[in-house]
């Protein structure tokens, strides 16, 4: 199972929450800018409170699509309607529609609690999108954009190695 290399995880662990949240929100809003109709497919599940809990980071990310809100917290997971827990690389792969969620649920690399249908709706929604996180991440780096995007792509490729074809 791919986990975050300590070299990457450590700084995130010690970074102040406000900083992590600011970076995450910046990425989130740039994704939304690039994909304004991203959440259309969610239909009634736009109001769902989705929580993403990377098991290799002491953080929880809570997203409410309707409000376009993202909050980061530490410790106990926040109140949510549907929560998904797993290695960060897989969660990000899922966000990009790059991993087959069915396979991941079944391999128990990911665990889903709460409203399964809401999670399924999100999965299908993301699958129809063409989110490219390294590109979004790179966009934040201003003049270093191509460099950062390329580095992020490399990390993604390594983290997801062998996962692309792991279907249920």
């Amino acid at each position: 199972m791919p986990t975050l290399p300590p070299l990457l995880a450590k700084p995130v662990e010690i970074a102040p929450l406000w900083f992590v949240e600011r970076v995450a929100r910046a990425i989130f809003s740039s994704v939304l800018k690039a994909h304004p109709d991203l959440f259309d497919r969610l239909g009634q599940y736009k109001q769902t409170r989705y929580c993403f809990s990377p098991c290799d980071l002491p953080l929880h990310f809570r997203v409410v699509p309707a409000a376009q809100s993202l909050a980061v917290s530490r410790g106990e997971p926040p109140l949510a309607d549907a929560r998904i827990e797993g290695p960060l690389a897989l969660l990000l792969g899922l966000l990009e529609g790059r991993c087959d969620a069915d396979a991941l649920f079944f391999s128990r690399d990911l665990s889903v609690t709460g409203d399964m249908e809401a999670m399924l709706a999100l999965r299908n929604t993301l699958d129809d999108s063409a989110i490219d996180l390294p590109r979004e991440f790179g966009a934040l780096a201003g003049p270093f954009s191509p460099l950062v995007a390329a580095a992020a792509r490399h990390i993604r490729a390594r983290a997801l190695e062998g996962r692309d074809a792991a279907w249920n």
Binding site: Y45, F106, S107, V112, D115, L120, D127, D128, A165
Partner: protein, 325 residues
């Protein structure tokens, strides 16, 4: 043989086109089709754009209207048929006789394909569908052996499409109320089977228990790969013995039978999986496309990669092989 490919989203539709589909099948975002899952399927506008894209590539689009019309709400299905025809669907895939009659009468020029959900499993059944509704093609239920199919095609004046890869219904399609017995939602009426809204996983002494509605469908030991609680693929107790009473969690793969199916007179191979992601569609379609053009020897190499994509990592040729029964 044509390759008929699934698309649950416009993104998957594009992947199917790129990967070499001869036709792509999809449905509207409501209960008029048998993959009525949240976040899946096409708006009218998305279908219009997808059909245009497909046309430019010389690829056909089939629209699945393969649930049974709810009494009193037939207008929803009729409107879906009207719109699919207006948007230029190359074929409508229909299961309900009432809807078939509507399409045959209203749009006699429109190609009508009989969905697997109609369960036409023999020559007399298919003759009935041709005579009554002018069906041009029948998707055969997954209950026949290759020999059955060969015998059947000789006796009918109708194209035959069979499932080649993907999820395997153990029961005759369109004739199964197991899901609604446990959840109130069925493939026939609601376009869903074992719906996620009724799925629950709970931890129990290290084991993961999957439930559908009020019923335990499976229990996975620590570390054991888990599965979605599709009812007919659950583990049950029959006469004190626990096991997969209907079918192990395997999926259908008939790549090894391609030549036999072709010889049997099959016109088209269908890939299941509108609910699967676009990456799945891309991979399966391109592999099967290659397999169709390959020699039997080249084929086995392609097969091994595809097998890793299957539920439970294992595949079966299902009813196409008599021993499956």
């Amino acid at each position: 043989m044509e390759l008929i490919c699934p698309a649950g989203t416009p993104a998957a539709f594009r992947e199917a086109l790129e990967a070499g589909a001869d036709a792509v099948y999809c449905g509207f975002r409501d209960e008029t089709n048998a993959r009525n899952f949240p976040g899946l399927n096409f708006s009218r506008e998305e279908l219009r754009q997808s059909i245009m894209l497909a046309r430019r590539k010389g690829v056909q689009t089939f629209v699945a209207l393969n649930t049974f019309m709810r009494a009193g709400d037939e207008a929803l299905w009729y409107a879906a048929a009207d719109d699919a025809v207006a948007l230029g669907a190359d074929a409508l895939i229909v299961a309900d006789f009432g809807l078939m009659a509507y399409v045959a009468e209203r749009y006699p020029e429109q190609r009508l394909h009989v969905s697997v959900q109609a369960s036409a499993s023999n020559p007399d059944a298919i003759r009935f569908l041709v005579e009554a509704f002018a069906a041009k093609r029948v998707v055969l239920p997954r209950v026949l052996t290759v020999q059955d199919i060969a015998r059947l095609t000789r006796q009918i004046d109708c194209e035959v499409e069979v499932f080649a890869f993907g999820g395997l219904c153990v029961m005759a399609e369109g004739r199964c109320s197991l899901s609604s017995y446990a959840t109130g939602k069925s493939p026939n009426m609601n376009g869903v089977c074992s719906p996620a809204s009724h799925v629950r996983y709970r931890e129990e002494e290290g084991a993961l228990v999957s439930e559908l509605g009020a019923y335990t469908i499976n229990r996975f030991g620590p570390g054991e790969a888990s599965g979605y609680p599709t009812l007919c693929k659950g583990r049950f107790d029959v006469g004190g013995t626990e096991g997969y009473a209907f079918e192990d969690p395997v999926s259908l793969d008939v790549i090894d039978e391609i030549d036999a199916l072709k010889a049997a007179g099959v016109s088209a191979l269908k890939i299941e999986g509108r609910q699967r992601g676009k990456a799945y569609v891309a991979e399966v379609v391109s592999s099967l496309k290659k397999a169709l053009g390959a020699t039997p020897a080249e084929r086995s190499a392609l097969v091994s990669r595809l097998r890793t994509m299957s539920e439970g990592q294992r595949t079966t040729s299902g009813a196409y092989d008599k021993r499956w029964r």
